[in-house]
């Protein structure tokens, strides 16, 4: 049993076992993403979809195999997997497909194209198959008009001007996200809980493709 920090009270808590409760599952990368997509599902009014923040790029195949062995798996009719593109969207998609194949699950031919099962399987690469990046990039794009955003940009410029090393290029979006969220009333929240606190404008059209993907599960 793992001990984790409760996102609500910030105290140590015993991690509960995951229980499959729904026929439609959205598999996201980790707890933070799970909380984000939970907020989005609530916003869409789709409570018949369960988000599993089981994440971990390297463990996906084993985790899918483990899910298949769960007694409740028999009720699952559809799964969607959301994966960050990082620095290679094609490689991210291929990696998910490889895990699906290893777990003997249906393998889609391309992102957003469902492969009929059971269960039916769909994969979405974020921000898109044509763009590098991650969920943080979508969130920042959705908040481009936020009054705090120029300050965020200035902060990183200032770091560069003063010779501070700053974050590596591939971590820049994550760093900007953290800085941006410090501009909010509660400045300590991670991306997922920030979504639940409506710190991200989930109604933004930036998230339209994500919403279509989720609704199609």
């Amino acid at each position: 049993m793992k001990t984790v920090i409760c996102p609500e009270c910030h105290h140590a808590a015993i991690e509960e076992k995951l229980v499959i409760r729904r026929e439609r599952l959205l598999i996201a990368e980790g707890k933070d993403d799970e909380q984000f997509f939970d907020a989005m599902l609530r916003q869409l009014g789709l409570d018949e979809i369960q988000v599993l923040g089981i994440g971990g790029k390297t463990r996906l195949e084993g985790q899918l195999k483990a899910l298949k062995l769960d007694p409740a798996w028999r009720q699952v009719s559809s799964i969607g997997i959301v994966r960050d593109a990082d620095d290679d969207p094609d490689a991210a998609f291929r990696s998910v497909c490889s895990a699906l194949k290893g777990a003997k699950l249906p393998v889609p031919s391309k992102p957003l194209a469902p492969m009929v099962g059971p269960p039916t399987v769909q994969v979405m690469i974020i921000p898109s198959l044509r763009k590098e990046g991650a969920l943080e990039d979508l969130c920042l794009e959705s908040s481009a008009d936020d009054p705090a955003m120029p300050c965020v940009e200035q902060y990183f410029q200032c770091l560069a001007e003063h010779g501070a090393p700053g974050p590596k290029e591939k971590s820049l979006s994550k760093a900007k996200t953290m800085v941006f969220l410090t501009s909010k009333e509660d400045p300590t929240l991670p991306l997922g809980i920030a979504a639940q606190k409506c710190y991200w404008p989930l109604k933004s059209s930036v998230f339209d493709e994500v919403k279509r993907f989720i609704a199609s599960l």
Partner: protein, 395 residues
Amino acid sequence: MAKKLIDYEKRRKKGESPAAREKSASYKSNADTVQKLLRYKSFDVQNFRCIRKLAISPLEQVNLIAGMNNVGKTTLLEALFLHIGETNPELALRVNNWWGFGPEIESPWRQLFWQFNDKSPIKLTATTMLGKECSLTITTKLAESKVVEEILPKKGTEFVKSSGVNIIFDYVNEDGKSRKVMGTPFLIGQGNIVRFELRMSAPSPPTRVTGIFLNSGIKSVLDEDVNRFSQLRIKQRDKLLLDAMQLIEPRLERLEILSPQGTTLIYGYLKDYQEPVPLPLLGDGARRLTSLILAICTAQGGVVLVDEIENGIHHSILKGMWNAVAESASLFNTQVFATTHSQECLVAAHEAFLERDLYRFRLHRLDRLNGEIAAATYDRESLEGALSIPLEVRG
């Protein structure tokens, strides 16, 4: 007949049942025919106790069985025990004794059968590591109830009466050869005691594979442990046990068989102690671990069945225990089947096997789904995945 089965009651009180669940049971193989390869690659159970149908596969050198209460974990071990014994109806009596079932003379075997229906044969089928199949079919046949011997001279047998239902063990080995042995229950009256006895249609041949069953209770049978330790000493592998015991008692320096007051026991020499200490005095965990390691080493080429393996063992040494199990099972080519309810125990097993060159471990979770019992088998990757999520793997 007013006489009661007093003798059987006496045996029960002596600790054969139900208290005998704490005892171990074993039967020895013919040393010349010890299997060089692990016995079971897969195992199917039909119509045995709470299991109507169950297939479990693939099996590894060490197999841990998890699941809710009353889902068939111990039943699976018992099924394996009967199968290892091939044509030994006496084992049916023994597994019933563990549960406290006395010989109901009219229907002594019904508890063995799914829904007590002895019209549907029990079928236990294994596939060996060589891919060959061997099966044991257990059926019953109504016995002719008659007195076969009458009153004999004083203090002798007064009557012998066949009664109730015969049990038939029909074993087909991996070469397709069949052997059938029938056990007939007899009541033997002597004085005011009526005793139950199972007489075989043919003597049971030595089993080809050693099977040892360690029940869930902590206390072991001390003289069995002494015998097994002697065998280990002869093979000069007794350091395995010492290493394992040092997990529980780091001050332990040496183990020896001694009988200073007539009772032969394994004694431990502890650092700074003037006298050796009988191993049972080192606590229940020490006894349990001793029995476990000795059983695995003794059942060379065979199978050890352990109910609730974590009983008596402190959580901090569970991984060490599994290391010892893995090491001894590998060294003696013994296949191990154990049950558990403990998350700590199964995580410790997984971690212990991760550190070995070969991950020769499987977790099998039994579930009751729509009234049927089903097995889900976790290999290294799926167990790692399940623990990382974390999913419930104990059932």
